[in-house]
């Protein structure tokens, strides 16, 4: 049923259709609307039997999900940013134990400086945790990915994180075609756990593992992720057969057939990139887009195939490894090993900074001329950066950088310079 609906609401309604059995909630923007909406549905009895638990921290939220999942219940939670970092130890633990928890990550920057707006620093921080990480481009895809996520998680006994851009998607109201219960029930069978805490068949879960077996246990986790590289597209195909809608998969391509330059990105920014690419196409540039839906497992083969004969690849990403450069770019570079393809890395949209179509058009025009550097920070205000560097050079106790930059931005230029 097509509804004009907020992204968070669409996700909540879809999660409800997946018949979660234990939902744990701890508030953090911009994820709160999802968990609030699920909470109402549980309290109304619409999801019965389902337990909704207001926990005292994100660490507890993931831990409750771990206990519930290990007892055979379908467990769900949502978080963002600091919340994900606060639950980090449990995030790794859930994956290490092979518990098929599904979590929505409403992508948001990580402080300090504290910032509630969107970027992908949070998702990147847990990329090595063993979770499958799927990125949604639109609210429709965000909703659909949750149904696929439960299916994928439970088939493989691997937790799945559905990443959707905070505010840009979670708080955007747009048309979303919500599935009906019958379709979801047919697509998603009840959870049949591989391991379970059961007094009738007592097992020990979470034993200490020494050097004699740790590598093997880890390697098995890697194999399950490799398996996911096959299951993700297969599940997307099945989803399409059941719903008539294409959502998910490993990667998506847009106007790449004859492209010599291809832009690679994750999440909602793909829409703006496609618009900018359309404009550049009209200018005669041979440019296309590859969106990566499955960030973990990273589909190296599919990425390489999608980038086929491009001579230049621009990886545009909303996070970076400080002191190095892009995280996604590093993965793409691995996928392109042995090719002559030139890789350019653009960091953009940090802490919610708008990635505008005009900035992208300018960027792509520069790229078409072959003038793009190896690493670029899009729309960086070099003026305030220079002023802070100047201040730091002049005096030892220059004060906190973030506050200095804010003051510079808030004051008329000449006054700011004098302070």
């Amino acid at each position: 049923m097509l509804r004009q609906i907020e992204g968070s609401r669409a996700v909540a309604e879809t999660v409800a259709l997946c018949r979660p059995e234990v939902v744990c909630a701890y508030p953090i923007s911009p994820q709160t609307h999802i968990i609030e909406a699920v909470g109402v549905m549980v309290k109304e009895g619409r999801l019965s039997p389902c337990e909704f638990i207001n926990v005292e921290s994100e660490f507890a939220a993931m831990s409750v999900a771990i206990g519930a999942s290990a007892t055979g219940a379908r467990a769900y939670t949502a978080t963002a940013s600091q919340g994900l970092l606060y639950m980090m130890e449990a995030v790794y633990n859930a994956a290490g134990l092979g518990l098929p928890i599904v979590m929505t990550l409403a992508n948001r920057a990580i402080g300090a400086p504290i910032n509630i707006w969107n970027d992908h620093s949070d998702a990147m921080a847990v990329r090595d945790s063993g979770w499958i990480q799927l990125f949604a481009e639109t609210n429709q895809e965000a909703a659909d990915l949750h149904v696929q996520a439960f299916r994928l998680a439970e088939e493989l006994s691997v937790p799945v994180m559905v990443c959707m851009d905070g505010f840009i998607l979670t708080h955007a109201v747009e048309g979303v075609d919500l599935l009906d219960q019958e379709t979801v029930d047919a697509f998603l069978p009840p959870y049949d756990p591989r391991q379970m805490l059961d007094p009738e068949h007592p097992v020990s879960i979470g034993a200490m593992v020494g050097p004699e077996a740790f590598e093997e246990v880890r390697y098995l986790a890697h194999l399950r992720q490799l398996d996911a590289l096959h299951r993700i597209p297969a599940i997307a195909d099945e989803f399409e057969a059941a719903t008539g809608r294409r959502s998910g998969g490993l990667v998506s391509s847009y106007r790449t057939e004859d492209a010599d330059t291809i832009v690679v990105a994750l999440g909602s920014v793909l829409g703006t990139i496609k618009d900018a690419v359309d404009v550049r196409r009209e200018e005669g540039d041979r440019i296309g887009v590859v969106g990566i839906t499955s960030f973990r497992p990273f589909p190296s083969v599919a990425v390489r195939r999608a980038l086929n004969d491009a001579s230049q690849v621009i990886v545009l990403e909303k996070a970076f490894s400080i002191g190095h450069g892009g995280v996604l770019a590093t993965d793409v570079a691995m996928a392109l090993q042995g090719t002559d393809c030139v890789l350019r890395n653009v960091i953009a949209g940090l802490g919610g900074r708008a990635i505008t179509r005009s900035s992208l058009e300018e960027l792509f025009a520069t790229a078409a001329k072959g003038e793009l550097g190896a690493l670029l920070f899009l729309d960086l205000n070099t003026d305030v950066v220079d002023r802070e560097i100047e201040r730091m050079t002049a005096v030892r106790r220059s004060g906190p950088s973030a506050e200095n930059v804010l003051r510079d931005l808030g004051l008329p230029r000449e006054v700011g310079r004098a302070s």
Binding site: C50, A73, A90, A213
Partner: protein, 345 residues
């Protein structure tokens, strides 16, 4: 807690001899059909109080729940010595996740059991003092205030013994640990710090709070049994001497635990919904020196450069406990002793 008139005390120990009791009154431990929740072959140290305390409590819980039990364990000695992969000593459904999250994992287990309609299955969370009073405190307090359907049981050996004997918020003042060394004018752990978790648990108004030691098996088992008669959040704090960390002889574990109670340093009581309902009286009042001298972690208070001033401060703590919980009952004390001298005909 159910009590019975005491008929006889074994010389020196005050322990009630099982052989004098009817079958139904004997301990779970004395029953060869007991679960043996933590099976033999684990790697605990000789004389480990924790291995004893946890097994006593879990076996009693298994009897109380008719075997319908799931245990969630925090990281710590108990977890490490019982499960070096691929061996496990656990004969019950058992899970370990992390150091600080056992009460939250147990919350999830309990929630899943409700969803699945398995309301006969009960959940125990367990950890050492570090996993309870320190790193697991947030999750424990959260589970307690929500009234989760969990019995959380701490086997308290008063420090981080698994990592090499470091201070926790349950380490007593003056005790030597690797992070409260015996240097400077105030050797050992600082006075005026630490958390009294049984009282904090009571402040959460949970259904049942009890303390126990491994020295009194009947009392410990009765408290587990009692805890299982309640629903909602419950807390059981078991003092378990650690020969390694305390520097006590491994054949003195029970004796040391008994002296912790007899000195008043570790008050043994139970409380329902925030109100103390019973205390285990001190049977033979003992100065703290008797307890301290058995442990090398307090050796710096005696010997060549004794610190009677510090011993006095520890005695004051014991005295305060005795007063707070009414641990001494002079009349009853005299009467019991009189009875114990009567020779059965």
């Amino acid at each position: 807690m159910t009590t019975r008139p005491v008929r006889f005390y074994q010389v020196g120990s005050f322990a009630v001899g099982n052989r004098l009791l009817g079958d139904e009154e004997r301990t779970v431990q004395s029953n060869s059909e007991r679960t043996n929740s933590i099976d033999s072959g684990h790697r605990a140290c000789q004389g480990c109080g924790e291995a004893l305390g946890a097994r006593y409590a879990l076996d009693a819980a298994m009897r109380a729940t008719n075997g319908q039990l799931v245990a969630v364990n925090a990281t710590g000695c108990l977890e490490v010595f019982s499960t070096p992969y691929p061996e496990t000593s656990w004969r019950i459904a058992w899970m370990h996740s992390l150091f600080g999250n056992a009460p939250a994992v147990a919350t999830g287990v309990a929630a899943a059991l409700r969803v699945k309609g398995k309301t006969d299955v009960r959940v125990i969370g367990q950890g050492g003092d570090g996993g309870t009073v320190d790193i697991g405190f947030g999750c424990l307090s959260g589970a307690a205030e929500r009234g989760e359907e969990i019995l959380f049981m701490v086997v308290d050996n008063e420090g981080y013994m698994n990592t090499g004997v470091q201070r926790s918020a349950a380490t007593p003042p003056a005790a030597r640990t690797a992070t409260t060394e015996i240097v400077g004018p105030q050797p050992g752990n600082t006075f005026g710090q630490g958390k009294d978790l049984p009282r904090i648990a009571m402040a959460h108004d949970v259904a049942y709070v009890a303390t126990a030691t491994v020295a009194d098996l009947h009392d410990l088992e009765a408290k587990v049994e009692r805890a299982m008669q309640f629903h909602g959040a419950r807390y059981l704090h078991i003092l378990v001497p650690c020969p390694l960390g305390w520097g006590s002889a491994s054949n003195e574990t029970i004796h040391v635990a008994r002296l912790a109670k007899e000195t008043g340093l570790f008050p043994v009581f139970e409380a329902e919904y925030g109100v103390v309902t019973s205390v285990s009286k001190i049977r033979r009042r003992t100065p703290v020196e008797e307890y301290l001298k058995l442990q090398k972690r307090f050796a710096h208070l005696f010997g060549k450069n004794p610190r009677p001033d510090i011993v006095m401060r520890l005695q004051e703590i014991a005295n305060r406990n005795i007063e707070r919980y009414g641990l001494l009952d002079e009349e009853e004390y005299v009467a019991r002793h009189a009875a114990s001298f009567e020779v059965p005909v």
